[in-house]
């Protein structure tokens, strides 16, 4: 199984500012995924991050709002830019494992925008 560390675990931010969330995996993985869970809701995929190429965003999410970096096979960052209270959510990174038959999640970053 993959061990995923996310930082920070939680933060309270002022509107209009940006927060960068880090995701570190204990093994090399091809793809990393970023999800958002709004309060009381399910998880929605934001984007897929591959090393060496630009992230692929799902419908409703754009690079200007959620820029992603993937500098190597064990690390990725998600930035939430120009935040508003509507961005208050849990953000989770995920990786595949077990030859593509498992999906592991980090502990999540709980973001509150005031």
């Amino acid at each position: 199984s993959a061990v995923i560390s996310q930082k920070p675990s939680r933060d309270i931010c002022q509107r209009g500012t940006s927060l960068t969330i880090q995701c570190q995996v204990d093994s090399q993985v091809t793809m990393m995924f970023w999800y958002r869970q709004q309060p009381g809701q399910s998880l929605t995929l934001i984007a897929t991050a591959n090393q060496g190429s630009e992230a692929t965003y799902e419908s409703g999410f754009v690079i200007d709002k959620f820029p992603i970096s993937r500098p190597n096979l064990t690390f990725s960052t998600l930035t939430v830019s120009n935040m508003s209270p509507e961005d208050s959510s849990i953000y989770l990174c995920s990786v595949e494992g077990g030859g593509g038959t498992e999906a592991f999640f980090g502990q999540g970053t709980r973001l509150t925008v005031v």
Binding site: L43, T44, L45, G98, A103, Q107
Partner: protein, 111 residues
Amino acid sequence: ELKVEQNPLFLSMQEGKNYTIYCNYSTTSDRLYWYRQDPGKSLESLFVLLSNGAVKQEGRLMASLDTKARLSTLHITAAVHDLSATYFCAVDKGNTGKLIFGQGTTLQVKP
């Protein structure tokens, strides 16, 4: 567009009772996942179902997959309070690793 629907969305049950959570999805997929989420926590992987007819059991939970009906079930046997949590099913979109989640089922087990 792949859609995943769970029902019920909320389930309140007495300890010792049995119940089933249903997960329907709209397009073909070979991978279905069940997760548990406790309040304020991340996701805990419960089951991965990879083929038609797959059945997996862990303690009081049993999950099955019918790919022809595009249906998975999570059966709870003799519920205990510790099973109180939100349960999500998720389907792999075209075996890409991208997961589409159901709405979640919040289970409350009363003593």
